[in-house]
């Protein structure tokens, strides 16, 4: 069994990556003339980008269908009792929002708007959804990005340690710790962390992105840590980092557990290979064997899981943001979903779907970079 098929047995790795890795392609099907073998990496990338574009269109369709073919009625969710009693107002409102057109036409209108960067007006905030998202997306990216960095560093390190010290005490401790990590309800942990570290011990700042009374740094990237550093406002920077730490750690716990487990099994699998034994046998120092011979092939499944982990981080932000009053996409999504604010829901679905798509594309590309076999399959 070729190791390329390994990721297919893990629960739900990144989307398009699957096509490239499930089955080792039969030799007869790869030979598409001499042109195919000339620039395998470029061709591989082009194919991946094409698939991603198709998926992007499909995502717009899904968000549209999801928000339109559902029983919830946006009219009753948005108009008051009195207005609902007046058919003229209802009809006017439906016409204003294009709801009186047939669905395919609504979809085309929606697509046309998207191409112009128009995501519609939020029925809740009465602002363009684009502006709402521009405000909330960076907050979530900052949180999720910090969390994924923490998880990658700690998760891979713990996984390698567990694999190298297999069946020893540290391995067992890490195993139990990582299982606890993936078992803790994120929303509950957020609450506990908030209570213990802010309310009781007062070693972390409270909710929000910076201390109350501080004004946010001039917007460049929308990430408070980066923006404040760029403008040299170090007090704001310190506050932003302080506020980021607790929710990011809470968010990261699950992915640390996940990455530890997968890194461990990936490294163990490589450790059992003959070429690792050969490398050891010819007297290479342990460090060289670890980094050059073990970690690199082990990276393929780790990258898969990291992409997957980022998805679960985006999920987790919804719950963590609710507790830490973090003004991000999660809170926005929740508010618009519960009030049936369709344009906002579509906008969130679209943006989050696209972010996720880009992550999966990056994962695919990294596959191709790390494992040359993927490029030609």
């Amino acid at each position: 069994m070729s190791p390329t098929s390994a990721p297919s047995n893990e629960p739900g790795p990144g989307t398009a990556a699957q096509g490239a890795t499930t089955a080792p392609a039969p030799p007869g099907r790869t030979g598409r003339g001499p042109r195919g073998s000339r620039r395998p990496l470029a061709r591989f990338l082009a194919r991946r980008v094409a698939v991603a574009l198709l998926l992007a269109v499909a995502i717009t369709l899904v968000t549209f269908v999801l928000t339109n073919l559902v029983p919830g009625d946006p009219v009753s969710a948005n108009l008051g009792q009195q207005a609902l009693g007046d058919p003229a107002i209802v009809a006017q409102w439906r016409a204003d929002h294009g709801l009186d057109r047939p669905l395919p036409e609504q979809y085309l209108l929606h697509l046309e708007g998207l191409l112009h960067g128009d995501l519609g007006m939020s029925q809740q905030s009465h602002r363009p959804v684009r502006d709402d998202l521009a405000e909330f997306v960076p907050a979530t990216l900052e949180l999720a990005g910090t969390a994924i960095l923490i998880s990658l560093v700690l998760g891979v390190a713990f996984g390698v340690i567990a694999a190298l010290r297999r069946d020893r005490l540290s391995d067992h401790v890490l195993r139990i710790a990582s299982l606890i990590g993936i078992s803790v309800p994120t929303f509950w942990l957020a609450l506990v962390a908030f209570y213990v570290f802010f309310f009781r011990l007062q070693i972390t700042p409270g909710s929000g992105r910076i201390d109350p009374g501080m004004s946010p740094p001039p917007q460049v990237t929308g990430l408070y840590t980066v923006d404040s550093a760029l403008s040299g406002q170090w007090d704001v920077f310190a506050s932003a980092v302080g506020h980021l730490l607790a929710p990011a750690l809470v968010l990261a716990l699950y992915t640390i557990g996940l990455l530890t487990r997968f890194t461990r099994s990936a490294v163990l699998e490589v450790l059992g290979q003959d070429y690792v034994r050969a490398a050891r046998a010819k007297g290479l120092p342990g460090r060289v064997v670890l980094f050059r011979y073990v970690l690199r092939p082990a990276l393929v499944p780790i990258i898969t899981v990291a992409g997957l982990a980022f998805g679960s981080l985006l999920s987790g932000t919804v719950l963590v943001e609710a507790v830490f009053a973090w003004p991000g996409v999660g809170q926005y999504a929740y508010k618009s979903a519960t009030t049936l604010d369709l344009p906002a829901v579509m906008g969130v679905g679209l943006v989050v779907g696209l972010v996720y798509l880009v992550i999966n594309l990056v994962v695919d590309v990294l596959y191709g970079v790390v494992d040359p076999r993927v490029r030609v399959s």
């Binding site: 739900g12 499930t22 998926l55 029983p71 050891r280 985006l314 929740y334 779907g353």
Partner: protein
């Protein structure tokens, strides 16, 4: 730090077999612990009316009383006994979660098997739909579905189902693809097995192991997602003793820590139990894990 041989598990096993190494049985306790915790919860769920000291809905105790005699887990802001509510909560969450996972296995498994076995456009269509579900983070998609259907526990279950089946479809398809071309399956077809019989007799037994592992681990994930939706107010309705909703009610009375703590611990222990079980099961069944590697070497 010099540790020659530490990189090679086989060599280490030969040279110093029992130095710091824990006995083989040490791995089992995780499965045993998981089984015992799960069993305890199932007993609680079944016997909650007998075990619970109070009526979970009765509002007749002092409000927000800290844990103490008479009410070990304290009382909530409406004067209800939290211990009783946590116990009754097992009747809500555990059966629903098990049902949810069983349905996902069934739906995802059937679709995945069809996709892997028949291939072509059937398979392509199914897998592209699965891809689309994977294109969204689970909570966001489940949240949108649950909100669109209307906030209720049944709709929350449905929403989790929507996001849960594709992983089974994908794994089953991968496994079936791997088995489909093997000699024993082909010879079955040559002997005149129908597609259905071939799937049932030759393919199915070879894919159940990994699916079982995934399902066991997924029980925890499903419970986390379901209670997360309830926490957001998209699942169980207020008086119902659902754990996620109970944690949410603890947010309102922040300094009464016990209101949110105990239902959260209930979720944690149930999820942990099934993760312990699933992880041990994976070790026992997965040919790529450490144990299998070691056995092959011996």
């Amino acid at each position: 730090m010099k540790r020659p041989g530490v990189l090679d598990p086989e060599r280490r096993a030969e040279i110093r077999p029992r130095r710091v190494r824990l006995p083989e049985a040490w791995r089992r306790p995780l499965a045993v612990a998981g089984g015992v915790i799960a069993l305890v919860w199932i007993v609680i769920a079944v016997a909650a009316p007998l075990l619970a000291p109070h009526d979970p809905l009765a509002q007749d105790l002092p409000r927000l009383a800290p844990p103490g005699a008479g009410h070990w887990f304290g009382t909530d802001q409406l004067g209800r006994d939290i211990l009783s509510r946590v116990m009754y909560g097992a009747r809500v969450s555990i059966p629903l979660t098990l049902l949810l996972v069983a349905l996902s296995v069934l739906i995802g498994g059937l679709l995945g098997a069809a996709a892997g076995y028949f291939g072509r456009w059937v398979g392509e269509t199914i897998m592209r739909v699965a891809d689309l579900v994977f294109a969204f983070p689970t909570v966001i998609l489940a949240m949108v579905v649950a909100a669109a259907l209307g906030a209720s526990l049944a709709n929350a279950v449905l929403a989790v189902l929507v996001v849960a089946w594709p992983s089974y479809a994908r794994v089953t398809r991968g496994l079936v693809l791997g088995v489909r071309e093997r000699e024993f399956v082909l010879s079955g077809r040559l002997l005149g097995f129908s597609a259905w019989r071939s799937l049932r007799v030759d393919v199915l037994p070879n894919v159940t192991g990994p699916i079982m592992v995934l399902a066991t681990l997924d029980i925890g994930t499903a419970l986390l997602l379901l209670s997360g939706l309830s926490f957001l107010g998209l699942g169980a309705k207020p008086p119902s003793p659902e754990w996620g909703a109970m944690v949410a009610s603890g947010v309102e009375v922040f300094d009464s820590w016990w209101v949110a703590t105990f239902p959260g611990l209930a979720i944690l222990t149930v999820v942990l139990a099934f993760n312990f079980l699933g992880d041990s099961l994976r070790d026992a069944l997965d040919p790529r894990t450490a144990r299998a590697i070691k056995e092959r070497a011996l």
